[in-house]
């Protein structure tokens, strides 16, 4: 590969990773936008999503990477797996909100955030206890077709990467449409901007919050599936590092800001793959966090965020 091809290759990989991080970051940002809560349980809803999807793939008789599907069966199976995973994760998010977080609504300080750390631990350890500590070989029915840019030695785009882009674009577009145009989506924005006023307009705030958790968690489930298909493995421990990077993406873009989370996710994905190529994989997290700190020092509200004016 020429240096240019190498760069192109890393940009392609970075975009794929970034799309995954963006999906995960959206869940942080939606919940934060409404509740001003950093939801650490999101990390492991993502992980649980990966396991749920694995279970569904097993139901279809897909084990390891040797059973490949093509054409309509491939699309059908992936669609079913995606939808089932997203719905299951969505409900998981709603359950977490209803039983662990709603009782704490209105309590000042870091209490709710600490609770989400607890929930996160419970999720990862339940999976640890029931599924074991070993990394699991992930069932992957997607054939290894690829396209080459600039000949067989050039940069490679796999079918799967294209699938990632299509799926995440559709999901993000759908989310954006929902929040901008639908009645409930507008209620979500109104609640985020002024919860009291929204309440007095007759917005059922509980429903809005549950919707936010459902959608955020469903996207995390989709991200979990993509992550495991990308790396061909899953484990009870995948939530932390991926979640942390996605969260960094959300903060980078200005937490609470939906387009910000998307852009932030892409940026983090690109940094990760470029740093991995040109510096060293082992320093990727250090670079990511250093950039985060630098951005926050220069723009405390993130790249696209706005600080609420302080009242006194």
């Amino acid at each position: 590969m020429t240096p240019f091809d190498l760069l192109l290759q890393q940009l392609i990989n970075g975009l794929s990773l970034g799309a995954m991080y963006a999906l995960l970051a959206l869940g942080f940002t939606i919940v934060y936008g409404i509740l001003e809560l950093i939801n650490f349980s999101h990390f492991n809803v993502f992980m649980v999503g990966s396991f749920i999807a694995m279970g569904v793939l097993h139901l279809f008789g897909i084990e390891g990477q040797s059973v490949l599907l093509h054409g309509l069966p491939l699309v059908g199976v992936l669609l079913v797996v995606l939808v089932v995973t997203m719905i299951a994760c969505g409900f998981l998010g709603v359950i977490i909100e209803r039983f662990a977080l709603r009782p704490l609504r209105g309590v000042k300080g870091p209490m709710a955030m600490i609770t989400t750390i607890g929930v996160s631990y419970i999720l990862s350890n339940v999976v640890l206890l029931t599924q074991g500590a070993n990394e699991k070989n992930y069932p992957n029915p997607i054939p290894h077709w690829s396209f080459y840019i600039g000949g067989i030695n050039g940069a490679r785009i796999t079918v799967f990467q294209i699938l990632i882009w299509v799926i995440s674009t559709l999901l993000m577009g759908g989310l954006f449409w929902f929040v901008q145009r639908s009645r409930l989506g507008k209620a979500m924005r109104a609640t985020a901007q002024d919860p009291d006023a929204a309440l007095m307009m007759g917005v059922e705030v509980n429903r809005v919050i549950m919707t936010a958790f459902f959608m955020g968690s469903a996207l995390a489930g989709a991200a979990g599936l993509i992550f495991s298909l990308y790396y061909n493995f899953t484990s009870f421990g995948i939530g932390f590092s991926a979640g942390l990077r996605a969260f960094t993406a959300a903060v980078l873009g200005g937490i609470g800001n939906i387009p910000g989370a998307m852009v932030g996710g892409i940026i983090i994905g690109l940094i990760e793959s470029l740093a991995g190529q040109y510096i060293a994989v082992k320093w990727a997290d250090v670079i990511i966090f250093s950039i985060l700190v630098l951005v926050l020092i220069c723009r405390p509200a993130g790249l696209f965020g706005r600080l609420a004016p302080t009242k006194s």
Binding site: K186, A187, R189, A190, D194, D196, A197, A198, V203
Partner: protein, 234 residues
């Protein structure tokens, strides 16, 4: 129509209000006297520890805010409180949140646009960028979109220039003529008493005076507390 009565709440102590169909009733009082708590109690944001809120003959103090809005109670909040990053039109939509979109929605929209032609001009502008007076129009329009029978207003004159204050009060009278009852918390006592039928004076959570607006305009205590000292030479 509204008969509120709370027990020994922190803020409101055994307060009674009454508002008849088609009236404008005004609640006067200083900051921290319990005015806003009264508003919140009517809207269902704060629940009274005891006592009842009766609306159109029915006790509603146990109802959620949504239900109250559906029954025709709409708020105009203190300092407008529009959704700053939503457009004017979206803000109006939020006012009609509890209702189905359709012919009625369009009718109400027309009504708001005819009351406030300015609002129509600005319909696609983000509401945070409007001037204070324009925001007040949107806030009142937003309340009207709920097709209310009762509007609760919290300090509609606050922060507005005299011209806008007059316009606002004219509009309130106009809306009232169209059959909407108005419950209004105000500091601008003289203006409020000019358009109100009746008024209550609230101090440290207790009603210290009540009566027709005309009576209260002449009342020495009100004059001393809110008007009188200002008109000392009179």
């Amino acid at each position: 129509m509204v008969n509120t009565h709370y027990g020994d709440l922190h803020v409101l102590k055994n307060v009674n209000y009454r508002l008849d169909q088609g009236e404008i009733v005004c609640l006067l009082g200083g900051n921290a006297s319990g005015k806003t708590t009264t508003m919140k109690t009517i809207m269902g944001i704060v629940r009274p520890t005891s006592g009842s809120v009766i609306y159109e003959g029915e006790a509603i103090e146990g109802l959620a805010t949504v239900e109250r809005v559906k029954r025709g109670i709409a708020p105009v909040l203190e300092a407008r409180r529009l959704f700053p990053r939503m457009t004017v039109f979206e803000n109006l939509e939020m006012g009609a949140y509890t209702r189905k979109k359709g012919a009625e929605f369009d009718q109400d929209l027309d009504r708001v646009y005819s009351l406030f032609p300015r609002v129509k001009e600005r319909r696609d502008q983000v509401s945070g960028t409007l001037s204070g007076g324009e925001q007040q129009m949107v806030a009142i329009g937003r309340a009207l979109m709920a097709r209310p029978r009762l509007i609760c207003m919290d300090e509609p004159s606050m922060g507005l220039s005299p011209l806008y204050v007059e316009q606002t009060f004219d509009i309130i009278q106009e809306i009232n003529r169209q059959g909407v009852s108005i419950f209004m918390v105000e500091q601008n006592a003289a203006m409020a008493l000019l358009i109100a039928n009746r008024a209550y004076v609230l101090q440290t959570g207790q009603v210290i005076l009540s009566g027709s607006a005309a009576e209260l305009r002449e009342n020495e205590t009100v004059r001393e507390a809110y008007l009188g000292e200002m008109q000392g030479g009179h």
